[in-house]
């Protein structure tokens, strides 16, 4: 029973991580219909940024965190300006291939600078955060992931619903020409969506780094796991991304715990294929109906 509850907690916190990462993905997709294959590398860049700031430059942790957030925000702007702006009219496959190329580029760059080793952050989460409940040990990082996950997801929920920039983004995602004709600054929305996506990736990457250690290959592989999450939840739905993330996190952890650890890596993809066959638009996605 304890094992089950332990796995449950672990699955939920990993699921929150996936949900936060998927949030960025859905945001980019909603505003510009681009499947971002470089998502894993955005995660890794956030994690490494924090590593450089906290370990090598020895900045105090909150400052390092803030700088990481600011830095990834800026990096999202830069990526959008440099690489995606020239491709605005092109076919979608070109943009997707561009993100694939960007993924390879970033991965190579990070491997070049940091090598394939596993790094570890200095211990900075307060030990008092660990919860002990009977025989169940919840380590501080899971609690932190819960808390940060809930905070950021609610922030973004409010942002999209009530702030003007959020409403602009939703309008561009809904109908780009209409938004243009109403005076929404579409290019700014694109840039902002990439910047926010890079920001959430940084957060997710940092927490992931605390959980499993920072290694370029592992974190980039995590980025590809975002795909089952968003497909399960629906490519256009932010709430769906959250629920999809939790489900996939739970599924993965339980498979790892009860069946085998090798199967753990591939189970999200099997679920993905299954969902695509049964309900391709996910739980909350918009169904495209075509009549010929």
């Amino acid at each position: 029973m304890e094992f089950f509850l332990q796995l449950l907690i672990q699955g939920l916190s990993v699921g929150f991580l996936y949900a936060i990462a998927a949030l960025g993905f859905v945001m980019i997709f909603k505003s510009s219909s681009v499947l971002n294959f470089a998502h894993g590398d955005l995660l890794a860049m956030g994690a490494f940024f924090f590593l450089v700031l906290s370990l090598w430059l020895k900045l105090p942790i909150p400052i390092a965190f803030l700088f990481t957030l600011a830095g990834s925000f800026a990096m999202g702007f830069v990526i959008e300006r440099l690489f995606l702006r020239p491709l605005i009219g092109e076919a979608l496959i070109m943009v997707i291939m561009l993100t694939v190329g960007l993924a390879a580029m970033f991965k190579g760059l990070m491997l070049f600078i940091f090598g394939g080793n596993v790094f570890n952050y200095p211990e900075f989460l307060p030990k008092g955060l660990a919860i002990q409940w009977g025989a169940i040990n919840i380590s501080p990082v899971y609690v932190a992931s819960f808390i940060i996950g809930i905070i950021f997801l609610s922030i973004f929920g409010f942002f999209f619903k009530y702030s003007s920039q959020g409403i602009y983004m939703r309008s561009v995602a809904d109908n780009q020409p209409a938004a243009l004709s109403l005076g929404v600054h579409v290019r700014r929305v694109f840039a902002l969506s990439w910047a926010i996506a890079a920001l959430v990736c940084a957060i997710s990457g940092v927490i992931l780094g605390i959980m499993t250690g920072i290694n370029v290959h592992d974190i980039s592989a995590m980025g590809l796991k975002v795909f089952p999450v968003v497909i399960l939840g629906g490519l256009e739905s932010i709430g769906g991304a959250i629920i999809g993330g939790l489900i996939i996190g739970l599924l993965e952890t339980f498979t790892g715990g009860y069946i085998s650890t090798a199967l753990k890596e591939v189970v999200p993809y099997i679920v993905l294929v299954f969902i695509l066959l049964v309900k391709p638009y996910g739980l909350f996605g918009l169904v495209e109906i075509e009549r010929v």
């Binding site: 219909s33 496959i93 993924a103 390879a104 070049f112 590809l224 890596e265 591939v266 993905l272």
Partner: protein
């Protein structure tokens, strides 16, 4: 002998057949014969074995790239699973050769057909899915197949891999770079001929219609599900065939090379070469294979300079970086690829001195 038409003054097609020909003038046909002569008579004898090794790899990659171009460039279905299908072909050929004892040519052909079946299996989601969802489905397929390569060890012997027997064709031992050169490039010529002619038939036109607007294609009466499956099958056949050839060439296969990186390499080949053009796939295959070789050599070269050894070891991941950079730069600056560059060069020669 009929009169050779070398320099036309314009396009005056009087019959439908003239519109459909592959070479619009005899100039192209002459160069084709020259090219075949060079390929089969001159190159094997003047090149060092290492160059033949590279050229063999280019040949096998080109066959797979042509298959992928049929799927992505002509039918518009983006597939990220091509590397895994290449691996399926390699494993199928290996298993047929070792466990069942098929001869060389039969095991490669059957590997192609088995891969076509697997490809059709992964194409089945395409009936309900559009572009993005199909891409993700093929990505999942890549990972699942990779997992199966390693875990299904009763069939594939897991991470140890399979050792293939010597290839024999018509009783002659095919070993060494030069004999494989002939085998590979005969296959390459045949497969290219099939692909080019496929595009001219109604299947090719159906593929292009599906790429351009599949709702309109369905409305015109093309059963798009059947043709999408056919496209998957054909491109997987090419990948499996090339995989089988590479299995025999390398001699022993392990699950390592058939990763997402290989799929991305194939996609890079056709994007850099030019989507929707057969010569483009060949150009792309040449470019990417040479890029890999240049990077490996640069790393090796720098390793030998003792002062820079440490730098060289860290340069190895730069291969991935340069790769990604090549894709990104080509997409931003020349999205139609090397085929477009070739076309512009050709037409500027033809139109000289009006080459602007």
């Amino acid at each position: 002998m009929r009169k050779l038409k070398l320099h036309p003054c314009g396009k005056f097609n009087e019959r439908y057949e003239e519109e459909l020909t592959i070479f619009s003038t005899d100039f192209g046909r002459l160069w084709m014969w020259v090219g075949l002569f060079l390929l089969f008579v001159v190159i094997p004898f003047i090149c060092k074995p290492y160059f033949l090794y590279i050229i063999n790899h280019i040949g096998m990659a080109a066959i797979a790239a042509i298959g992928l171009n049929i799927l992505i460039g002509y039918t518009g279905q983006i597939s990220l699973g091509h590397g895994a299908f290449f691996g399926v072909g390699a494993y199928a050929a290996a298993i047929l050769a070792t466990a069942v004892g098929f001869p060389f040519w039969l095991s490669i052909l059957c590997a192609g057909f088995i891969t076509a079946l697997v490809g059709m299996l992964f194409g089945i989601p395409s009936v309900r899915l559009k572009h993005l969802y199909l891409t993700i489905a093929t990505l999942a397929g890549q990972f699942i197949l990779q997992y199966l390569f390693v875990q299904w060890d009763t069939l594939t012997k897991g991470p140890e891999g399979i050792l293939l027997p010597r290839a024999t064709l018509f009783g002659v031992d095919v070993k060494g770079d030069r004999s494989f050169f002939y085998v590979i490039f005969v296959c390459f010529v045949v497969m290219t001929w099939i692909a080019v002619n496929l595009i001219r038939t109604r299947y090719g036109r159906a593929f292009i219609a599906i790429r351009d607007n599949d709702r309109a294609a369905e409305g015109m009466g093309i059963p798009i599900f059947r043709y999408k499956l056919l496209s998957f099958a054909i491109s997987s056949f090419y990948a499996g065939f090339a995989g089988g050839l590479s299995a025999y060439y390398i001699g022993s296969i392990t699950p390592e090379p058939y990763t997402l990186m290989l799929s991305i390499e194939f996609i890079a080949m056709i994007i850099i070469g030019g989507l929707g053009s057969i010569p483009g796939s060949v150009f792309g295959a040449i470019f990417i294979t040479l890029l890999n070789e240049v990077l490996t050599h640069a790393t090796g070269f720098l390793m030998n300079i003792n002062a820079l050894t440490k730098v060289a070891i860290t340069i190895a991941p730069l291969r991935e970086f340069v790769f990604g950079l090549a894709i990104v730069l080509f997409i931003i600056f020349e999205p139609r690829g090397l085929a477009e560059v070739w076309r512009i060069v050709k037409s500027s020669f033809k139109l000289w001195p009006f080459s602007y």
